[in-house]
Symmetry: C2
Subunit: 337 residues, 2 copies
């Protein structure tokens, strides 16, 4: 008997995706991107769903209800941003164990509303159910997308350059700190924990990037830089080479590893939940990066180049190239962090 | 400290609904109906979500994975049908405990696809997550609705007549039979269990009813006739009187109670999961009921009348009227079945 844990999360998704071809004239993009995309009359609609489950995504005491509310909505906003969409309406399902208080529900909604106010999203419905299991929250988000602004994982082409927003590794270090019993302390660690607790999706940045840099592919970094880069490679049928010296590692990540760049880099590449944008653009637009980044107030870093199909993902460092596997967070495979 | 269980499911929904008024120009209907309704350019979109959780909605052995897949989608289709909408695209979140097999996931999807093929719905995305709790499946369904065919809970008016499709009580008797250890047996009991396991949403019926009978309000019976009638009463600000002799009780329900009509009636009114339609129409259209029902191949039964606000819900029987409370299935209140 094949267990789900034998297939791993992505293997299972592939299995589901391969079941049958969907005959649906309104379907533009189905399973396998950040969002599903469907036609609604003259409008494109984007749909995505993501959940947070106690004991899986966080442990007791890591997040207060306010943070959970914020984060549950934010991670979905990030998926909509990653296809060039504008998030609009959310449905929320709460799985509540015995003894859950009304105040906790209030705090959850406060966190969601706080995020929704910033991101232009309204919570318009949902479902509430009792569970004998852990607390969980599942959010489904719908939004709209102009036809000429839809960006999928599948459009990367050989010689495109690979760009990432912001810095990487903080959120996953924040999770490690919480696991190690961190409660509060110095500023750099605090910053990592905050990135884990309250990720800020790059919505405005995504919209601006789509309009100015015309990316050929884009994804948000939720599973980890490497894992999400592989998603683009697989969908686009290309390879990639990354420049180890260029990958933007967060300061608090360097701090956490006592300045060991190799360790910090590995964390920045494999740790997930950064919710930064990873995208590819035509190399002719490289000269626009600095100005667009300045306008947005965010670092846009060129980290590598798209190569031919079958070349895999390589890491260039000191003139040599190392082969990189798919190590990222896989929900059913062996833990990698 | 107020617990969620003190508020009950509907109390909690009211609390969430009352948090703040949503300022959203695209929002037509928010929390508190069968679906949320939003504008997407010139189109109305309907959105709903409903989940099935092991240990809450069913126990080990009551449903195979195929049935769970069918049912998880069907209960959402029923909500879309109840507002006059056409269901189109579903997102599915699976919460999988340790040891879940790939075959079980295949069976779940087979059940969903079977239902989707009948109802015109495609599964276009979702999320899969590991849980330390019980198996659960959450489905979010989006669909479309013509502006002039949207039917809400809030439109019932005094002197409208109250109509229900099909017969009631089977599914909840089916659940009782399963709880009592029923495995397989005579035809009437089998029919009840089947109604619990594989509810068939009244999608075509809803569309036809909306077009021919112009209902002033409509809801699908998921919580139970009485509970769902109260939802209409509360939203519309009206009362109702039901005729005890007219309420269509399923044959297998009568059988289960050994022909005791009073017991069977009580089950038919309080037991949930019938997924029949409950709607109100102008009394002038009473004469059209029989013909529309014949055309659809389903019994449309006049069961009562809308009365003035504040009169509550009454049950008329043998010339006397009894006051009826809200007893239906409440996910956090004391169990009523």
């Amino acid at each position: 008997m094949t267990l789900v844990s034998d297939l791993g999360e992505f293997g299972l998704i592939e299995r589901i995706r391969g079941r049958k071809s969907i005959q649906d004239e309104d379907l533009v993009v189905g399973i396998g991107d950040d969002c599903a995309v469907v036609r609604r009359g003259p409008v494109l609609e984007v749909l995505t769903t993501d959940c947070l489950v106690g004991g899986t995504h966080f442990e007791e005491g890591w997040l207060d209800m306010n943070d959970i509310g914020w984060k549950a909505l934010a991670v979905n906003v990030s998926d909509v941003a990653a296809v060039g969409g504008l998030p609009r309406h959310a449905l929320v399902t709460l799985f509540l164990p015995e003894g859950f208080s009304a105040k906790q529900v209030d705090d959850l909604y406060s966190g969601m509303e706080e995020c929704g106010d910033v991101m232009g999203v309204s919570v318009v419905g949902g479902d509430i159910v009792r569970t004998v299991g852990p607390f969980a929250i599942s959010v489904t988000l719908s939004g709209v997308c102009e036809r000429d602004q839809l960006v999928l994982r599948s459009g990367a082409r050989q010689d495109d350059i690979i760009v990432v927003t912001g810095t990487l590794g903080q959120a996953s270090v924040g999770m490690r700190l919480l696991r190690e019993g961190w409660s509060s302390g110095e500023a750099p660690a605090e910053e990592c924990v905050k990135r884990f607790r309250r990720p800020v999706p790059r919505l405005n940045e995504a919209r601006a990037i789509v309009q100015t840099l015309l990316p050929s592919s884009m994804i948000d970094i939720s599973d980890g830089l490497l894992s999400d880069l592989w998603h683009i490679m697989d969908s686009s049928g290309v390879g990639a080479v990354l420049d180890a010296d260029c990958i933007p590692v967060g300061d608090c990540v360097m701090d956490y590893f006592g300045g060991d760049r190799e360790e910090a880099l590995s964390q920045a590449m494999a740790g997930g939940e950064d919710y930064e944008l990873l995208f590819t653009i035509n190399s002719r637009r490289e000269s626009d990066l600095a100005e667009v980044g300045r306008g947005l107030g965010v670092e846009l870093t060129l980290i590598g180049k798209i190569t031919a199909k079958g070349r895999g993902v390589k890491l260039a460092s000191d003139g040599a190239e190392r082969e990189l596997g798919r190590a990222g967070f896989d929900h059913f495979g062996p833990a990698v962090k």
